[in-house]
Amino acid sequence: MIGARKHRVMGPLDYGRRMWVRLSLWATLIFLYAPIVILVAFSFNDSRRNIVWRGFTFKYYEKAWNNDALIEAFTNSLTIALISTVVSVILGMMTAVLLWRFRFPGKAPFEGTVSLPIIVPEICMGVAMMTFFADIGWPRDLPWPLNLGAITIAHISFSFPFVAMVVRARLTHFNPELEEAARDLGASQWQSFRDVLVPYMRPGLLAGGLLAFTLSLDDFVITFFTSGPETVTFPVKVYSMIRFSVTPEVNAASTALIMITIVLTAIALRLQNRT
């Protein structure tokens, strides 16, 4: 009997098993993840100089939690992201259905304009928003949460085109006979929209919503230009803290935000798989 050969002969197309391919993949993953992993690990390090491990602690989380300005910025960010997501999903869905469903004069320019916020550099959008709110004399001393209005509006403007893009991509695979079937069975236009089209769009709405939420939570540049001195979001607060010094407190706050993002993504993936 011939002994089974452990060594498999590499096929000409087995690029996945070639050394340089594997090496570059692992090097890239380390490059992408090492900084984040180190950041998270040292939010638990009992030392201000976060280079040497001095033991496990939660004290920077405690400190961050007791930092009122940081918590306020965090609350602001979540509030803005939540409102921006809801409005963006509605506007994005409308845009997607409009472009998918109708022929109308001026469609091409409209389509181009909708994709503009995706293309325009953040800095340009930021200064545009800054100029706009300065010119119309947007009041700066409104009570919470109205003082978040300007930032929220800016976030919706750059988020909803992304939602529209995601939802529209899903709609291209929709079978129009489904909607006709609903109408044929006696559903009004509104009922067929609610019972057939919306359930079909749901995964797209979910993915688009998650994207809008992340974009809003993530945004620094546009918010930096739109926010007044009194309204600070989490990224803007972290920015000023980083400029000042690198502290484990920032690590703790950042880790919390990363966790929120991961949990949200996991929830969205779970929901998406269920439908």
């Binding site: 079978n175 006979e177 489904l178 006709e180 079937a181 609903a182 109408r183 044929d184 069975l185 006696g186 559903a187 009004s188 009922q191 019972d195 057939v196 359930p199 079909y200 439908t275």
Partner: protein, 362 residues
């Protein structure tokens, strides 16, 4: 209402799409209550447009439609007494089988307590009992088709519209479903209007068939009449096989038409109506005989040489041609094993009865 009163009345319907494509050209026809009616034609002939006009998804450019005596001019699809089985079945993917069937009842505010019973009944009717909780992606194509049928029938429409309902099924299943459709129609007694491009399907299921080509209605007749007495070259050729000989009319006297056919000579055929236009003579392949000798005066017969055989199981198609290059296609039934083995070859007489000759002027 009497059984013969029209449930659908289509009056001079034309449809021109934006961009100038004319899908329908002054089509008029009536469908009787309880009929199984087929709209037959090649793809792109306008038959689906006509069905969609009946359902209310397209508005005609001209003409009017009455369903059950009511003008459908401005009635939206959800208020029409018709229901449709779509080509893709359009079974809602996010609802269970039972929810699909119940949907039409829910949106039209049927009393809640009645719905489960009606759904159960409809599923029994299409033989899907017990599958109510399945999701559509766990069903076969045939089963999805049945869901679409149940969903439409549960609404008890005056007319059921079927858009190429069997085209997505494989050949074997298609035959079973044809019989099933006829059984269903007999059970529920609802008028069925089916759109199909498959002539065999139309012939086997329908009571009457309307043949449409390029937006024009060519002929409306029962299956046998349509097959045996097509009124135009298109219908003759579209339904079944046909030998067609173009001829020149050289006179019509005393009920006998004289036609000069290139390669066959002068033919004299008894007719009931005089015609003076040039005509085409058409003979079905299975009406022709292959003989060793001339069969006599009751027949038209021409000598020809066997060119090619195509064995098809139940029959053999024999292709012949005479010395003037007129070709014949004769189908011979393989009634016994011997006859199937019997080779046709050499020169033979192609013969058919005078009465089996069709005279086509359109």
């Amino acid at each position: 209402m009497s059984a013969s009163s029209p449930i659908i009345s289509i009056n001079m319907i034309s449809k021109t799409f934006p961009g100038g494509v004319q899908a329908l050209d002054k089509v008029s026809l009536e469908v009787s209550e309880g009929e199984f009616f087929a709209l037959l034609g090649p793809s792109g002939c306008g038959k689906t447009t006509l069905l969609r006009i009946l359902a209310g998804f397209e508005t005609p450019s001209e003409g009017e439609i009455f369903i059950d005596g009511a003008d459908m001019g401005h009635v939206p699809p959800n208020h029409r007494p018709v229901n449709m089985v779509f080509q893709s079945y359009a079974v809602f993917p996010h609802m269970t089988v039972a929810e699909n069937v119940a949907y039409g009842l829910k949106v039209t505010r049927t009393e809640r307590q009645q719905i489960p019973g009606m759904v159960e009944e409809a599923l029994e009717l299409v033989r899907l009992e017990g599958l109510g909780n399945r999701m559509p992606d766990r069903l076969s194509g045939g089963q999805r088709q049945r869901v679409a049928l149940a969903r439409a029938l549960v609404k008890k429409p005056r007319v059921l519209l079927l858009d190429e309902p069997l085209s997505a099924l494989d050949a074997k299943l298609r035959e079973t479903m044809q019989l099933e459709l006829v059984r269903l129609q007999n059970t529920v007694g609802i008028t069925f209007v089916i759109v199909t491009h498959d002539q065999n399907e139309a012939l086997s299921v329908a009571d009457r068939i309307a043949v449409i080509d390029q937006g024009r209605l060519l002929q409306v007749a029962g299956p046998a009449e349509l097959y045996e007495y097509p009124k135009s070259r298109f219908v003759a050729d579209f339904i079944g096989k046909m030998n067609l000989f173009e001829g020149t009319n050289v006179g019509c006297e005393n009920g006998v038409l004289s036609v000069l056919v290139n390669g066959l000579g002068r033919l004299e055929i008894p007719v009931t109506e005089a015609t003076h236009a040039d005509v085409g003579l058409a003979v079905r392949p299975e009406k022709m005989l292959l003989l060793d000798e001339h069969p006599g005066d009751a027949y038209l017969a021409f000598p020809a040489t066997v060119d090619k055989l195509s064995y098809q199981g139940s029959e053999t198609r024999v292709f012949l041609a005479n010395e003037k290059d007129v070709s014949f296609e004769v189908s011979v039934r393989n009634a016994s094993r011997d006859s199937a083995a019997d080779p046709f070859k050499g020169r033979m007489w192609v013969a058919w009865k005078h009465a089996d000759t069709l005279i086509l002027s359109d």
